[in-house]
Structures are given as structure tokens and as C-alpha cells.
């Protein structure tokens, strides 16, 4: 009632994108390209052919999953920055299980693999979550530190027991044919993982917006003290959110192994876990927003890699854009919140600027 014109969330996100484009015009000019031309190549061109459009969806699949994973954790006030490591653990599990399920029909093999990846992701998430809930140890640092450890685990496996015995390459053996995700469209790479991501988004949306558990999770994230006072088991809620988050990130790893690589490789994830943070924030932590943001970033990524070839702009510009997008989004959210806040009203917790955006968007 006294919120002073909260700019609508879509308008805010579009503004963040536009401001980002203004800022990233700098590096594009340095690379010797025309920014307008570059943005057409980044955003519009990938949507103009069926092949590239499907590639956009392929690229958006893992980050839609990690985005959902991050958003759920952030909504609970749990700063899981470890989606990268959790994804890698899911990938390890998928690569391991995938070679063992050769004799089993896909209808069984695929769920086993997905479940295995989810459990592996959750397992990687459980130590930081328990340390936070039981001893109050900051999860940001522990989840972050486990990311390089997960990568070392992948490389250790690839240089050790899982090294390809024939070629000697650091790649695990190919998973069984029955363990591969089927493609959804002929002659494209779009695979079952994309559908899986949409299902996860829909399920997460339903739980967050429509169930008591979801309301408890949101309440916990907005005000742990207020939630505890209202009788919500805050520790269990955070633990649950952390494990679900890890599980979804693990599924992203399964999806990459079973849908794209068909084996474990060292370069499996070019930072999908961190991109998940960008996706989650750009989607203002609301599930429909996460889906849209993932597809948009998929679009940018496909566009950036083709622009690298056609315009000579290094594809690393994609990462620059992601970083700047994250900064502009969170800055605009903060400015909006300060505008809207009644001066004598309750001050939100540190996560407030983020979480209440999600409340507006839900």
C-alpha cells in the first residue's frame, strides 16, 4: 500500500540488460567490432534459424537447472555458491552409473542415473549445509571451496582409474547406449535434459508458490528469526533447501553427461554452476523468471560463440556480459528496494534486497 511505484520486475530486468549492453559496448569496441552489429549477432541471429534456436535450448538446459538450484537455495536464505561442484558430482555419478546399466532398458536406466546424480549432488551439498545449520559456519566459503575440490576429483578420476584405456585420453569410458538421453528433435542435439529442466522448474514453482513447505522456505529466507518465532523449523528448512538445491545441480551434471558428452570429460562444465547464479538473479529468484533467463543466456552464449567466428569478438565476452548483468540486476533491485522501503518499517536481513524481489515476482 505504501510501496512507492515498485517498477515492475520485467521492466527492471530489461533495464538491467540494456544497461549491461551499454557497458559491454566498451570491450566490443576494443575488439574492433560494431556493438550494434554484435548485439544483433548475440541476441537476434541465434533465434533466426531452427538449428541455432535448438542450440539455444541445448545451451540453456544446464543453466536452467543450476539456476533453479541456486534460486531455491537463495530463497531459503542459504547462499549455495557450490552448484558448480554439485553439478560435477552429478556428472561423475552419471558417468559411473551410465557404464553399468547397459543391460537395463532406458525406462529404468535413465531414472536410476538421474536419481544417482541427484543423490551425488545432494551429498556434495550436505557437509556445508550441516556445518551451517549445526555450527553456524558460513556456507558461502565452504560451498565455494568445494568447487575446486570437485574439479580435482573429476581430474583425478580422469587421470587415474577412469582414463580411457584405449586412447589414453583423460576421458571416462562411454556410457551405455541405453543410458543416453534420447534427442527430442531429429538431427539436433536437443535432448531429454531440456524437458527434465522444464519439469524441474514447474515442480519447483509449484512447491514454492503453492505448498506449505514452499511458504515455510520463503518465510525462512525472508526472516529466519520471524520464521522460527512462528514455529517453523528453520534448520530443517535450510537443510532441506540446500539438499534439494544440490540435487538439482547434480541433475544438471547428469543431463550434460547423458545428453551431450556421453562420458565424463574435464571440460564438462564451463562454469555452469556460476552461470546458474546469474540466471537465478536475472530471473529474480522466481521460477518462471529463471526459465526465461536461462533461455536468454543460452541465446547470448550461442550468439557469442558464433560472433567469435563472424565478427572476431572473443567468445569470452559471454562471461563478461554475465558478470555485468549480475551486477546491474542486483544494483537495480537494491535501488528499487530502497525507494520502496518505508523509512520506519522493518529493515530486511542482508538477503532482503534479493528475496523480496522474488516475493514481488512470485
Amino acid at each position: 500500500m505504501r510501496r512507492i511505484s515498485p517498477w515492475s520486475t520485467p521492466a527492471l530486468v530489461v533495464s538491467a540488460v540494456l544497461i549491461t549492453f551499454v557497458i559491454t559496448a566498451g570491450p566490443i569496441l576494443v575488439a574492433g567490432a560494431n556493438p550494434i552489429e554484435a548485439y544483433v549477432a548475440f541476441v537476434v541471429l541465434p533465434l533466426t534459424s531452427q538449428f541455432t534456436l535448438l542450440e539455444v535450448l541445448v545451451t540453456s538446459t544446464p543453466i536452467m537447472l543450476t539456476g533453479a538450484a541456486v534460486a531455491i537455495a537463495f530463497r531459503a536464505g542459504y547462499w549455495n555458491i557450490g552448484a558448480e561442484g554439485q553439478l560435477l558430482l552429478g556428472a561423475i555419478a552419471a558417468a559411473g552409473i551410465g557404464t553399468l546399466v547397459g543391460g537395463i532398458p532406458p525406462i529404468l536406466a535413465l531414472p536410476i542415473m538421474v536419481a544417482g546424480g541427484a543423490i551425488a549432488g545432494a551429498a556434495w551439498a550436505i557437509v556445508p549445509a550441516l556445518l551451517r545449520v549445526r555450527f553456524g559456519i558460513d556456507e558461502v566459503v565452504t560451498t565455494l571451496l568445494l568447487n575446486p575440490v570437485a574439479l580435482l576429483l573429476v581430474n583425478g578420476l580422469l587421470h587415474g582409474p577412469w582414463r580411457d584405456p584405449v586412447t589414453g585420453f583423460p576421458e571416462s569410458p562411454r556410457i551405455a547406449a541405453t543410458a543416453e538421453f534420447p534427442t527430442l528433435v531429429e538431427r539436433s542435439r536437443l535432448h531429454l535434459g531440456f524437458l527434465l529442466a522444464l519439469v524441474v522448474i514447474a515442480a519447483a514453482w509449484y512447491v514454492l508458490a503453492r505448498t506449505p513447505a514452499g511458504l515455510r522456505l520463503r518465510a525462512t529466507g525472508l526472516s529466519p528469526h520471524g520464521a522460527r518465532f512462528a514455529g517453523i523449523n528453520v534448520g530443517a528448512t535450510i537443510l532441506g533447501a540446500a539438499l534439494v538445491s544440490g540435487a538439482i545441480a547434480g541433475i544438471a551434471g547428469v543431463s550434460e553427461v547423458a545428453g551431450i558428452q556421453n562420458r565424463l570429460t574435464g571440460g564438462l562444465s564451463p562454469g555452469y554452476g556460476y552461470t546458474g547464479i546469474v540466471v537465478a538473479m536475472l530471473g529474480t529468484l522466481a521460477m518462471p523468471g529463471v526459465a526465461v533467463a536461462a533461455i536468454f543466456l543460452g541465446d547470448l552464449t550461442v550468439g557469442a560463440s558464433s560472433a567469435a567466428r563472424s565478427l572476431g569478438i572473443p567468445s569470452q565476452l559471454g562471461a563478461v556480459t554475465q558478470g555485468v548483468l549480475l551486477l546491474t540486476t542486483v544494483a537495480l533491485l537494491a535501488v528499487r528496494r530502497h525507494r520502496a522501503r518505508r523509512t520506519d518499517g522493518a529493515d530486511a536481513g542482508p538477503g532482503g534486497a534479493v528475496d523480496s524481489a522474488a516475493e514481488v515476482a512470485t
Binding site: V127, V141, L144, L146, V278, Q322, G323, L327, V330, V335
Partner: protein, 304 residues
């Protein structure tokens, strides 16, 4: 004996970037701002230092350029968290992603992804060269000497004994009180973040300008996050943080040497490489329980 001397020398060497990073992060956090941009700031420092040294042929010019980048990174973090009051976790991660992206973007433009370029690294200085075997411990880079003999004592003195340090601690603990006493909260936090950023960038530049003489992708490999952990481990004290950095570095240097022993040949070296990270998580689990964070940690300050 040589093993021990080598190990201690390596410990000091490998601790150097962590010392710069930890002191820099301590300044940021004592002023009330968690700077997760540290990983990206170290990365950008490493790249900029290398690129400028490569172009100019002067490691010193590279170092100065790295410092400038660190100052800029700290200022951006301050703009986000102090001026806009944006969420600190997300701002820091955004800064890290952006700076790593920008470094790799520039790396691509300048070096075209060609073969690895090298520079003449900074030389080591050993005032105790004649002191026999033990003197080997002190065969260190200039930046290592500066870290332990200048930066650490000066950073400690400024934080604990100067009026500026008092202001940093006050705005990190109770910004309302500092404001009411006439301290400019925003200015103090900007300065703390800028000083911190400069130190982090020097830490990153140490890898390319001294230790390796070259720039490779993923060169920081999570050491920025290690510094964030060391700050908590050190309970926001410079001295304890440095001790943490030395312990981490000791384990890191030890595993490096264990790898070549026949007893560990069967073990993939990645397992040993992961050891220091696991040790620091363990150390946090034991020593980080219910520690007292700075009172205004993560909180933006704004007058009504």
C-alpha cells in the same frame, strides 16, 4: 635437511599471494563488506600484471598496472555495496565472473590464444645467501619480503593503531555510531575496499610476475576463496590470518613434495592437491563455530 629448507622456503613463497589476499579481504570485511570479488580481483591482477610486463618489458610496470586494476575492482565493489546498497554476496560473485571474463577476453585479444608467452620473472633476493644451508629459506622474491616485512606490520598498525583503522573498525562494527561521531561511513568503506582490492591484485600478480613468469587460465584456482576462509579462520585479525596463510601454504607445499615420493606414486596427484582445501574446511569446522562476525557484516548503511 634440504627437504626441510626447501619446504620452508616454498611455504613462505606460496603463502605470499595468500597473505596479500587475506590482508586485503580483512580490510574489506572489517569495514563491514564481504568482498567475494577477491577471486576475480586476484585473477585480473595476475593477468594485467603479466600483460603489461610483457608489453613494456618491466615487471614493475606490470605490478603498478595490477595495483590500478585492484583499486578499480575495489571501487566497483564499493559502488555496488556502499552506494547502491546491493547484496554483497551476489555483487562479489558478479565482480569475480566479470573480471575473470574480462581478463580472458583481453588475453584472447592480446595473445590470440597462441603459444604460452613468458616474461623474465622478478628476481629473488637473499640477504642471508652466505648463511649456509639455512640461508636457503630466505631466498625469496621481493614481493614476499615486502609482504611479510612491510605489508603485514603496516596493515596491522594502520588497522589497530591509527585513527583511520579505528574508523574502519567502527564503520564495520556500528556504522550508526561512527556516523554520529562524524565519520564518513561511505568514504571509509570505499577506502577500505580500494586498499583491499589493491592488495588482492598484488597477490594475484605475484603468480605471473614472480612465481611463474607466465599467465595460464584458471591461474588463481580458488585461492581467493581460500583467503575468504582464512579471514574467518583468523577471526578478522591480521596476525591470525597470516598464521592461517602460512599453515595452508605449509600443507600445500608439503603435498607438492609428497607427490614425487615413491610411496605416493599410486595416488593421483589431484587427491593431494585437494588436501589443502579440505584441511581449511576442516579448520573452519573446528575453529569457525559461532565466531563473532563484525557487527555490521553484510549490512548496507543508509541514513533515513
Amino acid at each position: 635437511m634440504t627437504f626441510l629448507v626447501d619446504l620452508l622456503a616454498a611455504t613462505l613463497r606460496n603463502a605470499t599471494p595468500l597473505v596479500y589476499g587475506t590482508v586485503g579481504e580483512t580490510y574489506a570485511e572489517r569495514s563491514g563488506v564481504l568482498n567475494l570479488g577477491i577471486e576475480g580481483t586476484m585473477y585480473a591482477g595476475a593477468f594485467t600484471g603479466f600483460a603489461v610486463a610483457w608489453v613494456t618489458g618491466s615487471p614493475l610496470a606490470g605490478l603498478l598496472a595490477a595495483i590500478m586494476v585492484g583499486i578499480l575492482a575495489g571501487a566497483i565493489m564499493a559502488l555496488m555495496t556502499v552506494t547502491f546498497g546491493a547484496n554483497q554476496h551476489v555483487s562479489g560473485i558478479g565482480l569475480t565472473i566479470g573480471l575473470i571474463g574480462l581478463s580472458e577476453f583481453a588475453n584472447r585479444l592480446i595473445f590470440q590464444g597462441g603459444e604460452l608467452q613468458r616474461i623474465q620473472p622478478m628476481p629473488t633476493v637473499n640477504p642471508l645467501a652466505g648463511a649456509g644451508l639455512l640461508g636457503g629459506i630466505f631466498d625469496q622474491y621481493g614481493l614476499t619480503w615486502v609482504a611479510f616485512l612491510v605489508v603485514v606490520p603496516a596493515a596491522w598498525w594502520v588497522l589497530q593503531r591509527s585513527s583511520f583503522g579505528l574508523e574502519i573498525r567502527a564503520v564495520g562494527e556500528n556504522p550508526e555510531a561512527a556516523d554520529a561521531a562524524g565519520v564518513d561511513v561511505a568514504r571509509t568503506r570505499y577506502l577500505a575496499l580500494i586498499i583491499g582490492g589493491a592488495l588482492m591484485a598484488i597477490g594475484g600478480a605475484f603468480f605471473t610476475l614472480a612465481l611463474l613468469g607466465s599467465f595460464t587460465l584458471d591461474i588463481i584456482a580458488g585461492r581467493g576463496w581460500v583467503c575468504v576462509a582464512l579471514v574467518i579462520f583468523g577471526r578478522w585479525r591480521i596476525g591470525r590470518g597470516v598464521i592461517g596463510a602460512l599453515l595452508f601454504s605449509l600443507i600445500f607445499s608439503l603435498q607438492f613434495r609428497l607427490r614425487i615420493l615413491p610411496e605416493f606414486a599410486a595416488l593421483p596427484f589431484e587427491v593431494l592437491l585437494a588436501l589443502p582445501y579440505l584441511v581449511i574446511i576442516g579448520a573452519l569446522a573446528l575453529s569457525g563455530r559461532n565466531v563473532a562476525y563484525p557487527g555490521a557484516y553484510l549490512k548496507p548503511y543508509r541514513r533515513s
